[in-house]
């Protein structure tokens, strides 16, 4: 099944903890992204990587650290979780450098709840 897959789908944790969300794409795409969807469904770009290199970092707190071990994977690690980090995090990929043709392929999302 060719797709963008994220794990875990649901994550419930306490304030102050550190957690990671993993993303993998088997579409052979060069660029991967993390987007955050807040409680109002607003979808905001956080990071993008092209072939393991950080391209976009959208004024995201340092507690968020993306890591791309290879171009098929982009993981998101979050330190010292805060209540405001509760959101759905979407991973996406695109076949072209940058956002290319504007067609992004999204994962199913990872719902993070911080208590």
């Amino acid at each position: 099944d060719t797709a963008v897959s994220q794990t875990p789908k649901y994550l419930v944790t306490q304030m102050g903890n550190d957690k990671s969300i993993k993303c993998e794409q088997n579409l052979g795409h060069d660029t991967m992204y993390w987007y955050k969807q807040d409680s109002k469904k607003f979808l905001k770009i956080m990071f993008s990587y092209n072939n393991k290199e950080l391209i976009i970092n959208e004024t995201v707190p340092n507690r968020f650290s993306p890591k791309s071990p290879d171009k098929a994977h982009l993981n998101l690690h979050i330190n010292s979780l805060e209540l405001g980090d509760s959101a759905v995090y979407f991973c996406a990929s695109s076949p072209n450098v940058g956002a290319g043709t504007g067609e992004l392929f999204f994962g199913e999302g990872s719902r993070l709840t911080v208590l």
Binding site: V4, Y35, K40, K41, F42, L43, K44, I45, S48, N50, I55, I56, F90, N96, V97, G98, A99, G100, T101, G102, E103, L104, F105, F106, G107, E108
Partner: protein, 111 residues
């Protein structure tokens, strides 16, 4: 600054009625605009892009540079059109191109 605005959080229509989902953008360059859709329990996916000037599932969207708008229209809504719709703007150089989204509009088509 670049921005995409979808003024309606929820649009509710009856089956067979016309639909117009509004989208306005702010961008000083030549815009590339898109509509994405997320059906219940499915992934967010591309619906259509303005440069293709295509009709997908009966939906069309025309770029109006004078009004800086890219509204999504369908003459006769179907129940299966019920979903979350996002308007998106692509900008930046090819290397650092970004796709930014509006706030999204939930379309509810009632039987």
């Amino acid at each position: 600054a670049q921005r995409v605005t979808q003024p309606e959080k929820l649009l509710s229509v009856f089956k067979g009625a016309p639909v117009e989902l509004k989208c306005n953008y702010s961008y000083s360059g030549s815009p590339e605009l898109f509509w994405y859709v997320q059906y219940s329990r499915q992934r967010l996916q591309l619906l259509l892009r303005h440069i293709s000037r295509e009709s997908i599932k009966g939906f069309t969207a025309d770029l109006n540079k004078g009004e800086t708008s890219f509204h999504l229209k369908k003459p006769f809504a179907q129940e299966e059109d019920s979903a979350m719709y996002y308007c998106a703007l692509l900008y930046g150089s090819s290397n650092t191109g970004k796709l930014i989204f509006g706030q999204g509009t939930t379309l509810q088509v009632k039987p």
